[in-house]
Amino acid sequence: MAKGIEIRTSPHLKRVMSVERIMRTVVLALLPICAFAVYQFGLSALLLLLTTTGVSILTEWFFSRRSGQGNTVSNWSVVITGLLLGLTLPPGFPLWMAAVAAFVGVGLGKSLFGGLGYNVMNPALVGRAFVQAAFPVAITTWTPAFAPGRFGELIPSTLTLPFMQPIPVDAWVAGLNMDAWTGATPLAIQKFQHIETPIADVFSGMVAGSAGETSAILILICGLWLAWQKMLDIRIPLSVLAGAVMVALPLWLMDSATYPSPWFVLCSGGLMLAAWFMASDMVASPVTARGAILYGLFIGALTVVIRLFGGLSEGVMYAVLLGNAVGPLISSWTQPRVYGVTRKSADKRDAA
């Protein structure tokens, strides 16, 4: 059947960029980080990533079906959520808990509010914050990196039965005979014992920590590549890092025995990963340009404040969530100045 002539509204041209393409590229950028996580922590990390991603996808599929939005898995955004969630969990985290995190993150953090584009906070971090509050012991149980035999065996806690307490790892760790292992991450060691892990180690990732947070350099490279591909607003990661330095530098200059160096602050913990891949999630950050910078500075500064003065050794997750919470306010306070509208003319209009 002839369709006749077509009519559409202008513009009749469109940029080739699309949501699917952005999301796919981010997944691509995350893959090296995942690979390093698996290399470093072995099979457990692999299973962890598969679980979070799988459960995230299933959850999204289920809820998007139920709410009649059709299948929204195909836009890839949920894959990012799953991967990032896996990357922020300890490598030996029980899989059932990881599944809970993924379900809560996607279900409560995203689908409940309408899915892609309407989540108010970062779904991956909502999931993580939930399990951090629900299973605080399990999520602060760390296992050493580069354990011998990591490709052949699992960390015992990984396969904990659902709803059961994690299988203790102490005996397993002791059996590894890794002398240097103290059972803590660089951040915790710094916070509670004021000993800084050498920068080279935290920078390259030769340390323990959450599955995907360890190698600052790798994250930096992947993030920069993404920015170069114009898939993320580089203002956000840069201002997160700047915000962190802004707080850390003066403290360190004042008292370098108690406070960590800015380098250490930047390279340790989840700051790098969060700055490049989580704070930069556009959905839950302010849309305005000035807003994005304020938001980044806020997150960076708050991370360091929580790390140094709060009860936790790492604060970036909460900082990002709180950043998401103030995002709408920042956004509305930083509306761009409209061409031809001056403060005076706007006032006049309001008065009229």
Binding site: P136, V137, T140, T141, G183, F192, Q193, G311
Partner: protein
């Protein structure tokens, strides 16, 4: 608009009714509450006593009798009575009337607010040999460990609280150390994963002991007679 307003009835203020009602209700309420208060006061005091006693007997299991003392400003002990103010210290005596230990409370800020703990002091070994958390806001799962983790409770089997030469302070302040690094009798082996809470516990123990132990040691002889 003005004219209309005036034509409307001005607000009637029933002065007498208002005074009568509110005054009356307040009066009744005062009466009722005062009565209830009078009735419940002794029961509540008794409850309070029982509660403290339970805690004291928990940290001093051999005791069957508790006596209350007050830490005086002079750094000694005095029996509870009219006109003596100060922190309470509880002496525990066995059936035979022998002093089996002294209990006192300590407070320190933990992960989420103050942790109040009762400690037992054994003058024989000059050490703390019991603890019970009276109240805390610590995260469930973390906070519980202070009271139930057997490994952690081992710390309070004989925690050194010896006084220094002058007898004014502990010879070795009590501190919490990272889990697995305890190597002195006055150190508390922290709980892995709940460092903050266990450190608070150490601070509470230290502060309480620094205050109470010198006084106890000073008046130990007197204390032993007070059954």
């Amino acid at each position: 608009m003005e004219a209309q307003n005036q034509s409307r009835p001005a607000a009637a203020t029933p002065t007498w009714a208002m005074l009568r009602t509110l005054g009356g209700i307040a009066l009744l309420s005062g009466l009722l509450v005062a009565l209830v208060y009078q009735v419940t006061l002794p029961i509540i005091a008794e409850n309070q006593r029982v509660l403290t006693e339970k805690a004291v007997f928990r940290v001093l299991p051999q005791a069957s009798l508790k006596r209350d003392f007050v830490l005086t400003k002079q750094g000694g002990l005095a029996p509870v009575g009219e006109g003596v103010d100060g922190e309470h210290v509880y002496g525990g005596y066995d059936a035979a009337g022998n002093l089996v230990g002294v209990a006192f409370t300590g407070v320190a800020v933990g992960y989420a607010g103050p942790i109040r703990v009762m400690f037992a002091y054994d003058p024989e070994c000059r050490c703390l040999n019991g603890s019970k958390v009276l109240s805390s806001n610590e995260t469930p799962g973390f906070g519980d460990k202070l009271d139930f983790d057997p490994e952690f409770l081992k710390n309070f089997e004989a925690l050194d609280a010896r006084l220094d030469a002058e007898g004014r302070a502990l010879a070795n302040p009590i501190v919490t150390v990272k889990h697995g690094t305890k190597n002195q009798p006055w150190e508390i082996d922290g709980i892995s994963g709940a460092t903050i809470s266990s450190k608070a516990m150490g601070r509470a123990a230290n502060a309480a002991a620094q205050r109470a132990v010198p006084a106890i040691e000073r008046d130990l002889a007197w204390l032993k007679q007070q059954h």
